[in-house]
Amino acid sequence: MNDTLRLQELGNVVIRFSGDSGDGMQLTGNQFTSAAANIGNDVVTLPDFPAEIRAPAGTIPGISGFQLQIGDHKVNTPGDFPDVLIAMNPAALRANIKDLRPDGFAITDADAYDERAIAKAGYAEGIDPFSREETLGKQVIAAPITSQTLAALEEFTEMTKKDKERCKNFFTLGLLFWLYDRSPDFTITWLKGKFAKKPMIAEANIKAMNEGMIFAQNSGLFQSQYKIPGAVTKPGTYKFLTGNEAAGQGLIAAAEKAGLNLFLGSYPITPATTILEEVARHKNFDVKAVQMEDEIAGICCAIGAAWAGDLAATNTSGPGVALKGEAMGLVMILELPLVIINVQRGGPSTGLPTKTEQSDLMQAMYGRNGESPIPVIAAKSPSDCFDMAFEASRIALKYMTPVILLTDGYLGNGAEAFRIPDVSELPELPTNFRTNPEGYQSYARDPKTMAREWVKPGTPGLANRIGGLEKDQLSGAVSHDPDNHDHMVRARAAKVANIANDIPDLEIHGDQDGGEIVIIGWGSTYGAINNKVNKYRAEGKPVSQVHFSHIFPFPKNTLEVLKKFKKIVVAEMNLGQLNSLLRAEFTVETIPLTKIQGKPFTEDEIAAVVDQLL
């Protein structure tokens, strides 16, 4: 027994699990996450996939990871750098040790370090992976995870050695449960349910986990135990959702609230595909999740469905948006509702498919021929993808317009606790279907919303023809009249501009009356900026945050808010796209804070620019 253990209280911890795909790191991470969430910690998670599906085991390209941050407050992000690294083999250690915080520690499986594995990880011959040079002086705890797991399962005589070895992730989970003073009860219940038909597997994993906890306590490898108290969270029922799952469910919710069927026309593309998969899982809602032959067909079939009266959507990533451009112009001029979700990834061209970026904002704004205004909104967190998919649907249906929702790979794959809304909290989404043939003009506009009416093909007495040619401002008949064209181009622009009156004002997090510095962001940078701004404010520094959820049109108090601050820093994962939009629209001085590495901002990177302005 180790009598010298201390129980330390922490505000938050970042843990990264890393191993081969067969090591069950995501499962282990998810179990730890669930256990933490159950006692009320705030949690955000992010898987890190290699670009190749099955690179050779034991090599650095084959390593996949899963990072999470838990805290006693809103943690906002999966964390910049891990405090704890779980590395199941030498390659995992070698690939991740540089990210480990200097005062953190790594736990690795001592049994995985045979000569062959060390060589596969790319260490030169004769190099000791645990030498100071290789660990960069950081603490590495090598625990005999595999052998201890096998020893723990000795009594399971019916299991093969290979099957027993597969329980090592639960042994590792046991180590962590002890280290972070967590009850394993939640995971025990989960295992019993998961393996209800294979009780031996459940028992073996439970045994391995319990032995892991005992080993952690008795081995003397760990000097401290840690405790992270629960966060003060809005009461409610929660579950984990990735951003893409949330977006898919947001669309389904919007369709239900509009009394429409959902139609998602799509084509597989990383990192957006799981939205299609999520919607396809819910056929009992009479959704049509249609995987088409290409990106163009994906949006075009959605346009055909929108015309027919469905709540239609298409989901993709940047290269797909490039292909959909012409069809986006069509749906804009037809004035039909359509939700277009771009889960952004690293560009240009094929770029960095599995990495994150915010470099498609200008594409969303201007990536079409002609004057083609389409509202643009952005989600700021995984769970916000639900709200923003719902909001995109609301705008599309109310204003008879396509709407672009920008998320990104970081949000789409990342997960956080999602507070399940009461269905009655979600607003009804009215539609403006017309059935009365009397005096119908297909492009007559509602005086308030400037939207035209929606007529489903098949409605008696209202047969009409619409198309991509310019049309008469009332009858919708093809018109090449110069004045009519001028009128229509301006009317379509005015309709979208008018949406500014129907979206929330910008909010200032910080100095309400303005002040020294404001950090402006949009989309997934919210969490990183918020964490940093909170730290500045705790130190009494005059830094505020303003975050855009609606980008086109901008909220109507935008200029008023910008003018309140002496220095406007615009932080985004591109070379300054929102920055350019703000300058062009409001002629304000701004300071771009840009990063384009396929990775989210760290707090240090924000500090590097903002500290100099203080």
């Binding site: 919710a253 009992n284 959704v287 049509k288 346009i303 009266g309 098949g458 007495g461 198309g467």
Partner: protein
């Protein structure tokens, strides 16, 4: 035909002028579609006409039905969405050879393969008309046009052969000059449950005049084989020629010189893809006659019906979709 139809052709004619060139074969196609649909007894507003870009793609504007004039090549993709969203609509697509087979070729093959319940008319004039005379994917090798002043150096697509190879459930060819034949093919197309591909050989009097003269002008009987279900494949001015087998290929022979039993009998409903491949060779090349008629019509589940079936099945087994249930599915916790 529905003798009691309360609609006439006029009910399918919208206000406004038709703006195709004088003498264009598209006029005949439009007139026959209007006539055939009037005879179905179905109200014009139950039809949705969808098109891409090109001369033929103006078609929806000239039908007094719901119409969507889309973008180049994408009509079948748009129509797929409309049909899946509302399987009760009668969805028609008008497309040209460039629209349907060049820029829209990908959508063409997948629409045929999926068997979406769309009635398509491929108005094939073997030329780009709206852009004023460039070669199309159905232009014959060597065609001298503005973009190939020395003649094209590529072989054409045969849309019948392509459709048959994709398992097309309704594949037919007709011409803009034989309006009775066209009407019958269109009527059968409208009645078909699944994707129908009707190629209409259509004359462009401006940029490719006379492209189909061999098969539509005086003396055409020598070169045209009318496919009629259950009948022998016999043609010629005096019905003196016939089609027999030569290995896996058709061969033209004289009726007088073959055993009557060897003359191929047409079977529209044969599911045998070998016969389909055999028939597809009757396209006016290699000494073969141009076959007109319905090459193949088979029963095959329509795409939209399968979506409907699966959704009904999901609702029956999982229960009709309920938002609160969906939102609470999986692991949850309450704070």
């Amino acid at each position: 035909m529905n003798a009691e139809s309360k609609y006439t052709k006029k009910d399918f004619v919208p206000p406004g002028d038709v703006k195709w060139c004088a003498g264009c074969g598209d006029y005949a196609i439009l007139a026959q579609v209007q006539k055939v649909l009037a005879e179905t007894g179905i109200s014009p507003d139950q039809f949705a006409f969808i098109s891409g870009i090109g001369c033929s793609s103006r078609f929806p504007y000239y039908m007094n039905c719901y119409g969507l004039h889309g973008i180049h090549g994408r009509a079948l993709a748009i129509a797929t969405g409309t049909k899946v969203a509302n399987p009760d609509l009668h969805v028609w697509v008008a497309m040209g050879d460039g629209d349907g087979l060049a820029i829209g070729g990908n959508h063409f093959i997948h629409a045929v393969r999926r068997n979406v319940g769309i009635k398509s008319i491929l108005m094939d004039n073997r030329i780009y008309g709206l852009t004023k005379g460039q070669f199309s994917p159905t232009s014959q090798r060597g065609a001298k046009v503005k973009t190939a002043p020395m003649g094209t150096v590529e072989d054409p697509i045969d849309p019948i052969s392509l459709s048959l190879s994709l398992g097309g459930s309704f594949v037919a060819r007709t011409t803009d000059r034989d309006v009775k034949h066209m009407a019958e093919v269109l009527r059968r197309s409208q009645e078909h449950d699944g994707f129908s591909m009707v190629q209409v050989l259509q004359n462009c009097p401006i940029f490719n005049d006379g492209a189909f003269d061999t098969w539509v002008s005086k003396g055409k009987e020598e070169y045209v084989l009318k496919l009629v279900h259950g009948e022998k494949m016999i043609f010629g001015l005096d019905n003196e020629k016939c089609i027999v087998r030569n290995g896996f290929s058709p061969k033209v022979a004289l009726v007088a010189e073959v055993d009557e039993k060897d003359i191929i009998i047409h079977d529209e409903f044969a599911t045998d893809s070998g016969l389909a491949g055999f028939l597809s060779q009757l396209n006016g090349t290699n000494g073969m006659p141009m076959a007109l008629g319905i090459f193949r019509q088979i029963d095959h589940p329509a795409f939209e019906a399968e979506y409907r079936r699966q959704n009904a099945e999901a609702a029956a087994t999982k229960g009709k979709g309920d938002l609160a249930t969906m939102l609470h599915e999986g692991e949850t916790w309450t704070l």
